[in-house]
Amino acid sequence: MRVHDDAPVTASHAISPDLSAYARQVRGSYRMLLRRRAGILAVIALCIVASVVLDFCLGPSGLSVDALIRTLLHPHDVSAGQSVIVWQIRLPYALMAVCVGAALGLAGAEMQTVLANPLASPFTLGVSAAAAFGASLAIILQWRLPGVPDAWVVSADAFVFAIGSVLLLDMVSRRRNAGTGTVVLFGIALVFAFHALVSLLQFVANEDALQDLVFWTMGSLTRATWPKLGLLAAACVVVAPLSFRAAWKLTVLRMGEERAASLGVDVPRVRRGALLRVSILSALAVSFVGTIGFVGLVAPHIARRLLGEDHRFYLPGSMFVGALVMSLSSVAARNIMPGVVIPTGIVTALVGIPFFLAIVLRRQGLS
């Protein structure tokens, strides 16, 4: 046994004798890596722009890019009809897709990190289901919060329940000894509970209300209005920098909760902060456009494969990927069947799944 052997043991093997030359090389390739990631983010951003332009131009009444630019720059020089199509329909619709995608992408990314679970997303942990329940209260029982204008009733109810569900998740995560597994299981319990409640309301609903509700739960961007868009965009602008500020802590958290704590990260506090941000983003997004949850699940996975898990890139990456998938879905939703806008929630899953499978399966092939 080696224990008897007193031969000198060296600590090192397989290091180049000239560490500084090697350090230069590593510094170089690390710089390259950072540049490549910045490049990938830039490419996704360009794709988003292209997709938004496509979203403007394609559709029942075709508009050229030229006409679009003219309408945007000189709204008074074009026909009233064209102006309405661009300003009241196309523009909020296309931009809402981007904002919703970004919000859900970021929310999903943070959720997966703080709950240490690749299945975590606003969709899988009950936020969407809670929103749907809120919406069904509004649609079927005409339950409304006092002082909410008519156009906002469904969204407001949905928001209240969505945010409530995340706060519940947060409460569970605050309990002592509540591991991430507990939180995820609790979220799944929420999904089933709210689904059951929605079904109950559907059971007692009249035909018209039932149709409205079913349509709502399919998720649709046609509900986009400027005030809602503005509110969601503002939420993104305020919340995203806060997420990015926590990037290092979240990166360390990925290496294990105990390890993060031992490196001085106040894990419960980081988790609370993240869940609060997640609740605002996902509750707003879901309450405005209905159940579009898939993006929040896949965008983080795609971003992780493309950009790694340095959260300085992963978080914006997931945001961008979410925005791109939503925007492409929005294009598809209006162009798969001529003259029909398919609910975006349906298309999102259909567009997102090929992406998702390609990336997940390719990864298995490599490892």
């Binding site: 080696r2 600590a11 350090a23 290092w248 290496m255 294990g256 390890r259 031992s262 001085g264």
Partner: protein, 260 residues
């Protein structure tokens, strides 16, 4: 004034169960490697975590004349770092990035910036002989390699006290000795306190300077390995019949004959 790391009247409860009851331990000397020994569930990890300020514990923890138990978590972990037994997770993160993240977890460490950061990280990896893994992804590494990365992350934060929970668990024989060698050297060079949970009594007796044996949250013995690791204490602690023999080179070696 006492030197080293010591704790007074430490009590830790998990729910109803009291794991450590009014334990006073130390001082673990500076510049030396200390070991915590004892059977599974004897409170070794709990004690290390209490010393590091993780989890809820009452009592006072001192490092020299500084009261660690009064510091904020971020401050405290910068002085006294606990390395958990679980290996760093298999995340899609490069080894170098994982070290940079560890260095930046509570804001940049003082005196290290930009390019220096990468140099510093590489030096740490080099100490453990894994500089060549810098650009590899954590999810491609073996358990032992990840354990070495974890050690490099810990040393890279330059703590004054390093608390290691079974730092050798995933390592082959060569690396067990290599890591002990590195830890002894760095502990002496930096004049820091290093305390580790060990299961290999032969490594403890040969390569540590101060040992504490725990059983059921109580200290059975504390002192130099020679005084602490005896047939008597081993029977009391592990319920085994063991001898401490002298090998052909005159060094102590523990032989286990059976259960006590």
């Amino acid at each position: 004034m006492m030197n080293g790391l010591f704790a007074e009247h430490v009590t830790v409860r998990y729910g109803q169960r009291t794991v450590l009851d009014d334990l006073t331990v130390g001082p673990f000397p500076t510049g030396k490697v200390s070991a915590l020994l004892g059977p599974n569930g004897s409170g070794k990890s709990t004690l290390l975590r209490a010393l590091a300020g993780l989890g809820e514990a009452t009592g006072q923890v001192m490092l020299g004349s500084d009261v660690l138990s009064r510091m904020s978590l971020a401050q405290r972990t910068r002085r006294c770092l606990y390395l958990p037994q679980t290996l760093p997770a298999t995340v899609h993160l490069q080894v170098l990035e994982s070290l940079l993240a560890a260095q930046n977890a509570t804001g940049a460490l003082p005196g290290i910036t930009g390019g220096d950061e990468i140099d510093a990280a590489l030096r740490m990896l080099d100490i453990f002989g894994i500089a060549d893994l810098a650009m590899r992804y954590m999810d491609e590494l073996s358990g032992g390699q990840r354990q070495l990365v974890g050690l490099a992350q810990a040393l890279g934060r330059h703590p004054d006290a390093l608390l290691l929970d079974e730092p050798l668990s995933a390592l082959d024989l060569h690396h067990q000795f290599a890591v002990m060698d590195v830890l002894r050297r760095e502990t002496e060079r930096r004049n820091i306190v290093t305390v580790m949970v060990l299961h290999d009594l032969n490594i403890a007796v040969r390569m540590t300077d101060y040992d504490v044996i725990l059983r059921d949250g109580k200290i059975i013995a504390a002192g130099s390995p020679h005084d602490v690791i005896t047939p008597d204490t081993l029977r009391q602690t592990y319920d085994i019949v063991a001898r401490v023999e002298t090998c052909s080179r005159g060094l102590p070696h523990i032989m286990v004959d059976g259960l006590g």
